[in-house]
């Protein structure tokens, strides 16, 4: 199986400081991988590095092969061809992930139209509008026809996150990176979004890189996890193995914290 994404010995430096060190990670087609780590461990930077979008001043070393193409050092033109078709990202903060001045429908229409044009079958007018509604329906948004005309501030956080997912889906990526898509949401909404991602990934044969800091949440969504700490991958393996027999102290700590939490909840119920 040739990997869709193959990160090898990735390091990211900023002014002499190492933010990511020797990270290796591979994701095959339709595979689901979780990336877990505390705040500041370099999860978002990894996601940005994969699409060649590291902020200015952050230098990547090593190799990132996406759909068989090298990302590090690639020209903007080549990267633009990869972005969207090979990978799309759903961001952490649903409030800033949408343009405040654009209706939901138009925001979804933009990547949709671009993807269609790229595929040589341009979408316009009512065909585009109905494709937008299909997508909004696909991410289980209620009353898509009305929501399409709403501005981001007029819908809920969970709905915004669904719109952001719809925008990512509009690109029809082979790999969807979800960077803590549920962190800003309440527990019920969180579960719904997880289910949604699960369903969409299988329906559309998408691979998933699910980023999060909550072991329990991530474990429920993926087959394999990589645990990161201060820019270093401290552990990786199938979810069951890592949960049953964590080999690194940090992972043990994460697990214990999750258990304490469960116990506390169990006592209250």
């Amino acid at each position: 199986m040739s990997a869709l994404l193959a990160i090898e010995d990735l390091s990211v430096e900023a002014g002499g400081r190492r933010l990511i060190s020797d990270l290796s990670l591979a994701i095959g087609p339709r595979e689901r991988v979780g990336l877990i780590g505390e705040s500041g461990s370099g999860k978002s930077l990894t996601a940005l590095a994969v699409s060649g979008l590291l902020p200015r001043g952050l230098l990547p070393h090593g190799s990132i092969r996406l759909a068989g193409r090298e990302v590090i050092g690639a020209a903007e033109r080549e990267l633009n061809a990869l972005r969207g078709s090979a990978v799309a990202i759903v961001f952490q903060e649903p409030l800033t992930a949408l343009d405040p001045l654009m209706t939901v429908g138009r925001q979804v229409a933009e990547p949709l139209a671009r993807r269609a044009k790229r595929d040589g079958a341009p979408l316009r007018g009512s065909a585009l509008a109905s494709a937008v509604l299909d997508l909004l329906r696909d991410v289980a948004l209620p009353d898509p026809a009305r929501l399409a005309h709403a501005f981001p501030h007029q819908i809920s956080g969970g709905q915004r996150q669904r719109v952001a997912i719809a925008m990512a889906l509009a690109c029809r990526p082979a790999l969807l990176i979800a960077d803590e898509p549920t962190t800003a949401l309440d527990v019920t909404t969180q579960a719904e979004i997880l289910q949604l991602l699960d369903r969409l990934a299988s329906e559309r044969d998408m691979a998933l890189l699910f980023i999060g800091h909550d072991l329990a949440v991530v474990a429920s969504a993926v087959d394999r996890v990589v645990v990161m700490r201060q820019g270093v991958a401290v552990e990786s393996g199938p979810v069951a193995t890592v949960l049953a027999a964590p080999s690194h102290d940090y992972t043990k700590g994460l697990l214990q914290a999750a258990r304490h939490f469960d116990d506390a909840i169990g006592r209250r119920l």
Binding site: S51, L53, I89, F91, Q92, D99, P100, L101, E110, A168
Partner: protein, 282 residues
């Protein structure tokens, strides 16, 4: 946000009042300006009465020191002010926004250099830059005045556009657009320009007011449109010698100038509030 309902309604009323007042003032000047293209009470160069006549039914704003009708000249002044303001702001906006966006996108050292250059330029008053431009060109006329003012206010627009664009570029929706393969020109068109516009337009309205005033100053200094163009600045200058014997000659162009500047600012304020989707229905 928990604004009590009654204040929210009040401020909404206040906003619509702003818009209506702005529209009325600017509309009045616009109508007058258009009217002068086809009709004025008198010919602006015609010696229609005695010198320095007080306002009368025939000459509603009196006459100047040569006996020309002042209302005619003030009306033509509206046209000149609107033309100069619009054209100068358009030049300044296009030039300034382009420069500001370039700086926002540029690599660190180029951005620093551009920002420093803009700060230096801004340290010179717009009027001074405009005077230098007029002095460097071969004669004072309306188009050199417009060009000079446009150039003069472009650094102010550029600095603001740069700051606003930099803030927008940090937003996740820009990164999201880039991850879906949107090119930079498309991102500028779709996301950056619309999102800097609300902040920029308020400033442009302010610049419009300043441009109208600066044009009056240029004309006052004899660097604006030459006679018989009746710019308000030139009317003020001509009324200067007779300000004690016939103050009306200085007061009316002053009122015209102030009413247009205030009108533009009210209009800009009202429009901004109305176009902000997050505020319009609160």
């Amino acid at each position: 946000m928990t604004i009590p309902a009654d204040t929210a309604i009040l401020s909404r009323k206040a906003r619509s009042w702003t818009l209506v007042a702005g529209l009325a003032l600017v509309g009045l000047h616009l109508v007058v300006a258009l009217l002068t293209l086809v009709w004025t009470p008198f010919d602006p160069t015609e010696l229609a009465g005695r010198r320095l006549e007080a306002p009368s039914l025939l000459h509603l704003a009196g006459t100047d020191r040569l006996g020309r009708d002042l209302l005619t000249q003030i009306m033509i002044g509206s046209r000149i002010a609107l033309t100069v303001g619009t054209a100068a702001v358009a030049i300044g906006a296009v030039l300034g926004t382009t420069l500001g966006l370039l700086a926002a996108f540029a690599s660190n050292w180029l951005d620093d250099a551009l920002a420093a250059a803009l700060d230096i330029l801004i340290a010179f008053p717009t009027l001074l830059i405009a005077m230098l431009v007029v002095a460097a060109s071969d004669g004072a006329n309306l188009s050199t005045a417009i060009l000079a003012l446009g150039l003069g206010l472009s650094p102010i627009v550029a600095r603001l556009a740069r700051i606003l664009a930099k803030r927008v570029l940090l937003m996740d929706y820009i990164t999201a657009a880039r991850t879906s393969g949107t090119s930079w020109p498309a991102i500028v068109r779709i996301h950056v320009l619309p999102n800097i516009w609300p902040g920029l337009s308020v400033n442009l309205a302010l610049q419009f007011g300043l441009a109208v005033i600066a044009e009056a100053s240029l004309s006052y200094l004899g660097l604006g449109a030459p006679p018989p163009n009746a710019s308000w600045g030139r009317l003020l200058q001509e009324a200067q010698g007779t300000v004690f014997s016939a103050p009306i000659g200085a007061i009316t162009p002053g009122i015209a100038l102030v009413s247009l500047v205030i009108g533009i600012n009210l209009l800009a304020d009202g429009l901004r509030e109305r176009n902000d989707p997050a505020r319009s229905e609160r």
